[in-house]
């Protein structure tokens, strides 16, 4: 079948299934006898394998099949769910992931690892159990699949079945009540008309039933005719049936072989087009071929429908995120044009135009909010990934840690979520490694042996606060200061509050660990976190109580594409500051300048606030006005002022990425196009402040 298959449909599904699989496995570890969970684990693998084979991911299908075969034993109750099984299955899950990654252009999967996993799994499962007797009851009990499956029902009534008053067609119709049926009558047993006893039944059937019912339900239908017919019910899309599954499922020849309708020698005599030639060669009756073809088709249909059915349940439409990005870009353009329209209509002062402009403004805002909300994803899926991390790392370090989460349904822009993973991994690793103590140490200080890490997300205005809180040993500000001085990050005479000292953990090259572990102590950890969060226009705050625990709070914007900004001017050049960071605006008069004795500080209601004169910072030409405007912003928990010529006002800012030409300057985090078509640069306040601090660190110390 030369179908053009879009493999991304499979990979997307597979990645999703892999996260589900991981979740289910972790849950299963808690409740190892939960059959429903076991079923879920099995189904996830089954689907990955089935779709994998269909989409040509043979390596995925082959490996998954091996794992699934072992897990099937758990499903049928012959293999207990142990930690060992879960560990191996988790490892297998990771292996599947790396095979997938490899197919996506990632590094090649480690095949030796795959072999190890499979060997481990096989070692767990009991040796080939005594050949399973074809006991109907047993087979029926263990083949109760969830979700629609395809059964092949071979119904061969005895010729005299009519004399018991039985109408076989009614039984077949009853099968239709269980699901959708493909009925193929096998009529090659019909004698010539002359020899036919018209009161006898010569017809047999192969019925392909796609149903959610189990084998028992099918057999129940035939209960009255148990002795008057031969009934063979077989689940077709069982895992073990697809061990050689290729893109189209089983080949016709395989099906005929497996069904015992033909032997290998006969099959070898003929080649494709198999069906016709089998019939022409007189090897297989035409209706048998037809039944086999029906089987092939029904099974394929069923397998193709499974993913789409799953999607229907949630009534969710899958859209590539690139399409969404495009939409967001277009909305951005629209917002920009709308700003121009507003400006023009304001200048022209035409009532009609203004009415339309207002309406467009209204609609644009709505469109923007709706579009942004499409890109919003619950952070839960990110949270779930950490369960595994915590589990693995704590085991590795001999610690007992429980991860709890709250606010998993808090929504954030997809781009933010995507970039949030690594920083959170670092923070959590750090908590596990440096925060939570070993059970003995915990008990020694009267804490429960199991440490807690709580991961929470909560909305706060246009931001989301994500917090990682542990009940570990807390940060020692004294020690932090000392280390920072030793490492040359801090001058020996610097005066830091405890709160400020906590933030030192994010300084480049700072590590308080006594030894470097492979968990978090790579010495690059936390400053990378800080950089990532800042590139997301977010901030980090650390709170800690010695001996009680530490909490690290990330404050992130809901979206990266459009923000509310404050538009300011130096000369005729515009800049934008994120409005969320702005606290107030004050004027800087020549008197204030005189009072500050050349230092860049301003007195705001008896509070001394340092400021940066943007004109000087960027070496812009021209005279500064007599009265300057200082915008006071909250940068990393500190109030910092920025001096501009004028403050224009609030501005809905569609953020454009800066091209390579701005590579040298990371004090700008983007740009936006203004209503008149000119460009305004978006200031990265945290970076600006840090650069200035570096330059005048002694001057800015203490506030």
């Amino acid at each position: 079948m030369a179908l053009e298959l879009d493999t991304s449909a499979f990979t997307e599904e597979a990645y999703e299934l892999l996260s589900e699989l991981e979740e289910s496995l972790l849950e299963l570890e808690e409740t190892p006898t939960d059959m429903e969970l076991i079923g879920r684990v099995f189904r996830a693998m089954h689907t990955i394998k089935g779709s994998g084979a269909m989409f040509g991911f043979d390596a995925v299908a082959k490996f998954t099949h091996e794992v699934e075969t072992v897990f099937d034993k758990a499903r049928s109750g012959t293999l207990p769910v142990t930690k060992g099984l879960i560990d191996l299955t988790l490892a297998a899950r990771d292996q599947i992931r790396s095979i997938l990654d490899a197919s996506q252009g990632g590094a090649a999967a480690d095949e030796a690892n795959a072999d190890r996993i499979i060997a481990g799994l096989r070692a767990l499962s009991p040796q080939q159990e005594a050949a399973v007797a074809p006991s109907v009851a047993k087979a029926a009990a263990s083949t109760t699949p969830a979700g629609p499956h395809v059964f092949r029902v071979r119904f061969e009534p005895k010729p005299e079945i009519f004399s018991s008053g039985t109408n076989p067609l009614l039984l077949i119709n009853e099968l239709r009540d269980l699901g959708s049926c493909q009925v193929v009558a096998i009529t090659h047993g019909l004698p010539a008309l002359e020899e036919m006893d018209p009161e006898r039944c010569y017809t047999q059937w192969e019925i392909f039933l796609t149903t959610t019912s189990d084998e028992n339900a099918i057999r129940d239908i035939f209960i009255f005719v148990e002795d008057d017919c031969t009934l063979n019910v077989r689940l077709l899309d069982r895992p073990d049936e697809f061990s050689h599954a290729q893109q189209e499922g089983k080949m016709l020849g395989e099906i005929l072989l497996e069904r015992g309708d033909i032997n290998q020698q006969s099959l070898d005599k003929v080649l494709t087009p198999l069906g016709d030639r089998l019939v022409n060669a007189g090897l297989v009756p035409a209706d048998k071929v037809r039944a086999a073809l029906t089987e092939q088709r029904v099974v394929q249909d069923q397998r193709q429908q499974q993913p789409s059915k799953a999607a229907e349940v949630d009534a969710v439409v899958r859209v590539p995120s690139t399409k969404l990005d495009k939409l967001v870009n277009l909305v951005g353009e629209l917002v920009t044009v709308q700003a121009r329209l507003n400006q023009i209509s304001g200048q022209l002062n035409l009532q009609h135009l203004q009415l339309v402009a207002e309406e467009i403004e209204h609609l644009t805002a709505e469109l923007r909010d709706n579009t942004m909300s499409i890109r919003m994803l619950a952070i839960g899926s990110t949270f779930n990934k950490f369960k595994r991390l915590v589990r693995d790392l704590s085991t590795e370090l001999g610690k007992q840690i429980e991860l709890t989460t709250s606010g998993a349904d808090t929504e954030l822009d997809k781009t933010v979520i995507d970039q949030l993973n690594d920083p959170l991994v670092h923070i959590i690793r750090n908590s596990i490694d440096h925060g939570i103590e070993k059970p003995e140490q915990r008990q020694a200080v009267g804490k429960p042996p199991v440490g807690q890490i709580h991961l929470s997300a909560i909305h706060s205005g246009t931001s989301v606060l994500i917090q990682v809180r542990d009940d570990g040993k807390g940060l020692n500000p004294q020690l932090l200061r000392q280390k920072a001085v030793e490492k040359g990050i801090l001058s020996a005479d610097a005066v830091l509050s405890d709160h400020e000292a906590y933030q030192l953990i994010f300084a480049a090259g700072f590590s308080t660990a006594e030894k470097i572990t492979n968990v978090s102590g790579r010495g690059v950890g936390m400053d990378v976190v800080r950089k990532s969060i800042e590139s997301l226009r977010g901030t980090i705050d650390t709170q800690s109580t010695l001996g009680v625990g530490t909490s690290i709070t990330l404050k992130l914007p809901l979206t990266l594409a459009i923000i509310e900004g404050l538009l300011v001017c130096v000369n005729s050049n515009h800049f934008v500051l994120p409005l969320a960071a702005v606290e107030e605006c004050v004027e800087l008069s020549p008197t204030d300048i005189a009072n500050s004795h050349g230092r860049h500080i301003v007195n705001v209601r008896d509070e001394i606030v340092p400021f940066i004169r943007v004109r000087e910072r960027f070496a812009m030409e021209g005279e500064r006005p007599t009265i300057e405007q200082i915008v006071i912003a909250n940068v990393d928990g500190k109030r910092v002022g920025l001096a501009f010529d004028t403050v224009v006002g609030q501005h809905q800012t569609v953020i454009k990425n800066l091209g390579d030409s701005f590579e040298y300057s990371d004090e700008f985090s983007g740009a936006t196009i203004l209503g008149d078509g000119s460009v305004a640069l978006l200031l990265d306040l945290a970076r600006m402040v840090r650069y200035v601090e570096l330059q005048e660190s002694s001057e800015l110390g203490g506030s």
Partner: protein, 111 residues
């Protein structure tokens, strides 16, 4: 249910009607045998069929097979009643065996 022949004996007309069920299976077989006798061209009319069961389908299938084998030309005359079509479909009689022998004669539709 009746079978008639044109005067020249070349063409036969088979009209099936009423209940084609197991109770009538024996007479139906006799009739079909007769219809397949000497004529070269056979028309079959099912318009008046009110009931049909598996035995009739088996007989018709075997008869059809027989006629084809003996080189008879069979054509369907008139409409096929819904009940007939439905039972054929329910029974999964999409075709018999061999070349040119399919149930289209009985259903008027492909597959």
């Amino acid at each position: 249910m009746e079978f008639s022949r044109d005067d020249n004996g070349d063409a036969g007309h088979l009209v099936l009607s009423g209940a084609l069920t197991i109770q009538q299976a024996l007479p139906l077989k006799e009739l079909l045998l007769r219809a397949g006798g000497e004529v070269k061209n056979l028309t079959i009319n099912l318009e008046q069929v009110e009931r049909v069961d598996l035995t009739a389908l088996q007989l018709l299938c075997a008869a059809h097979r027989d006629w084809i084998k003996r080189g008879k030309h069979c054509t369907l005359q008139g409409n096929i009643p819904e009940i007939f079509r439905r039972v054929v479909q329910e029974a999964g009689f999409t075709g018999c065996a061999g070349d040119g022998d399919d149930m289209r004669l009985w259903t008027g539709v492909n597959d």
